[in-house]
């Protein structure tokens, strides 16, 4: 049993970062994730010698990540929606140069400066690319403070396994709320670095270089093909998905992160009222659990997708279901969190009463 603590989501994530043996954090303050840099500034360097630096902007922070990751270090940055938009150029370079690193987006309502209240409106940006070019992030969506801890460790492991940036896509509510967490033990910092890391040309060996530039189109296509093959392996091997009450389910509620947690409550309300509702919760948003939806779609009469946005993941659910069963959407936007009652009412009106 690890150490048990009552912690705020952002602080739990920061504590996990230190315990995961992270070598460096570069970031810029933005609500609702500023506690990360604040927590690290107090605790990180003293405990593990980890580098913590407040950059002049998110643009600079993500490029510091590029440099340190390219030199073989285990590195992480965090931000919230407007700041994550500023990082997209750098993330594209990191994906193109195939550097492992971990990002966390504590999403707030948009567009523009938006609001500081929680939202899930950055699904498209995180899952579909965000920056320029064909690339994918490994995207993990925690729904508890405990998963803010667990996914730091998992995120680093996946990023390093695939030489690919991974992202924890969370929201302002999980970042700010306090829950009981079990922490994993302190892991050692890295002492060995991969052969490709540019940390000084080894004696008697070739120099290394990190780049995403391949001016010959044939080579650039070859690299794209390799990237797509890597993403295909992730889709085969790394899908994580939770299901509840699906064995006898006639209907499904689905959502990710905080939305999935509210779906579970709404499904329990439905069951109390005699409706057999199950819940599907993708944990990895990329790779997306296509097969889970596809298989369950053969058995159910309909799926209600619930998100804190205008309907983003629902597109992937519909693609996975491929018309086999109706997929309806319910969403709240701009920092509003749907209540279980609202979701239940939407289910009754849409699927039971057949209202549109």
């Amino acid at each position: 049993m690890g150490e048990i603590k009552l912690m705020k989501g952002n602080e739990a994530l920061s504590e996990a970062m230190i315990r995961a043996g992270c070598d460096a954090y570069f970031g810029y303050p933005i609500t609702p994730q500023s506690e990360v840099l604040e927590y690290l500034a107090i605790h990180a360097h003293a405990r593990t010698g980890m580098v913590v630096l407040q950059a002049e902007s998110e643009v600079a922070a993500i490029n510091m990540i590029y440099g340190a990751a390219g030199a073989g270090k285990r590195v992480m940055t965090t931000s919230s929606s407007p700041g994550m938009s500023l990082m997209q150029e750098g993330i594209s370079y990191i994906a193109g140069a195939e550097l492992p690193c971990l990002l966390a987006n504590v999403v707030r309502g948009g567009p523009g400066l938006g609001t500081i209240q929680p939202s899930q409106a950055d699904y498209f940006q995180s899952v579909k690319g965000g920056g320029h070019g064909d690339y994918k992030l490994i995207v993990l969506a925690p729904s508890t403070v405990q998963e803010m801890v667990d996914f730091v460790k998992l995120g680093f492991e996946l990023a390093e396994k695939y030489r690919n940036p991974a992202m924890i896509l969370t929201d302002g509510a999980i970042g700010q709320m306090m829950e009981k967490v079990e922490l994993f033990d302190q892991m050692p910092r890295k002492t060995e670095y991969p052969d490709w890391a540019t940390n000084g040309k080894p004696k008697g060996k070739e120099r290394r270089y990190i780049t995403s530039l391949h001016i010959q189109p044939e080579l650039m296509e070859e690299i794209n093909v390799r990237l797509q093959a890597k993403y295909a392996v992730m889709e085969e091997e790394e899908v994580l998905c939770q299901t509840h009450y699906v064995d006898d389910a006639e209907y499904l509620f689905t959502g990710f992160g905080l939305g999935a947690r509210i779906c579970l409550k709404a499904a329990e309300m439905a069951r109390e009222n005699g409706y057999k509702v199950g819940v599907v919760r993708p944990i990895t948003l990329f790779p997306f659990p296509k097969k889970v939806y596809s298989e369950l779609a053969d058995k159910v009469k309909g799926i209600l997708d619930v998100e804190m946005n205008a309907g983003q993941m629902v597109e992937d659910v519909r693609l996975s279901v491929n018309g086999k069963t109706p997929v309806e959407f319910y969403g709240r936007m701009g920092g509003i969190i749907a209540s279980p009652e609202e979701i239940y009412d939407k289910f009754i009106s849409t699927f039971i009463k057949g209202e549109k």
């Binding site: 580098v51 002049e56 490029n63 440099g67 540019t198 000084g200």
Partner: protein, 262 residues
């Protein structure tokens, strides 16, 4: 003729006769730079210093977008290619994780003094212990001849076709003088590579800057005022004359800031 001894190549090509050599810190890849361009010389003297200091296994370079984006093909040390303007941030990430290694960036004027101004100033202000090589030819070379932040008043470029009008396009940015104001900056010097004596001074400046980095003195910037024959639409010789007659009077050569007591 019969009493003249014919020399074989092997008799002539001996170490004692060597006037020119390529350091082991440069690769065999032919450079893509235009004839007469100063980049090749700047690369070579920087890499000569790295070889002479014996630090080729302890140095990491960062080359962002610009004509020198392919510097990693030529410099035989570990290198990272960076996004446009972000070299000082990338270098910060490396140096903070490996404070005992040498780190340098190699940036053009558009990269360092336009799109990357924030990254440059803040890295300098934090006193990041890195060497920044700043190639100032007053024009965007890679994108073929647009106005740079350093383009001289009245100078023609493809985006200032009637000459740079400072009333509407702003004044050339003397970023070296600007950076020299910051307490985190240890050493700022402006050199050139268009004449043999200046090449020697540039080499000395690189050696000093890397020595200061070794001693942890802070941010060092070596600006090199250079030419761009292709985009200035001049012959190499004409472009070197332009450096002497026009560029250097505006961007005077010499040390702008040296470490205290040095």
């Amino acid at each position: 003729m019969s009493d003249i001894e014919m020399l074989e190549m092997d008799d002539v090509c001996i170490k004692e006769n060597e006037m020119y050599y390529k350091p082991s810190t440069l690769t065999d890849t032919p450079m893509h730079y235009c004839p007469g361009c100063g980049h090749g010389t700047a690369h070579k003297v920087l890499m000569e210093v790295v070889e002479e200091m014996g630090i080729e296994n302890d140095i990491i370079g960062v080359a962002p977008v610009g004509c020198s984006v392919f510097a990693y093909h030529y410099m035989n040390v570990d290198m990272q290619q960076a996004a446009h303007g972000r070299a000082c941030a990338v270098a910060t990430g490396i140096k903070r994780c490996y404070p005992e290694r040498f780190v340098f960036t190699y940036q053009g004027d558009g990269d360092l003094a336009a799109i990357g101004t924030a990254e440059t100033i803040h890295a300098a202000n934090r006193g990041e212990n890195i060497l920044v090589v700043f190639i100032n030819n007053g024009i965007y070379g890679m994108t073929s001849g647009q106005m740079a932040p350093t383009t001289l008043p009245g100078m023609v470029s493809t985006t200032s076709p009637f000459g740079r009008d400072v009333a509407t396009m702003g004044h050339p940015l003397k970023i070296s003088e600007l950076l020299a104001q910051l307490p985190g900056v240890a050493y700022v010097t402006r050199q050139s590579v268009h004449e043999a004596n200046n090449v020697k001074r540039t080499k000395k400046a690189f050696a000093k800057a890397l020595e200061y980095q070794k001693r942890g003195l802070g941010f060092c910037l070596v600006e090199i005022v250079t030419n761009c024959p292709s985009n200035w639409k001049m012959t190499p010789l004409q472009s070197n004359k332009f450096v002497t007659d026009k560029m250097i009077p505006f961007y005077p050569l010499g040390d702008i800031k040296v470490p205290e007591g040095k």
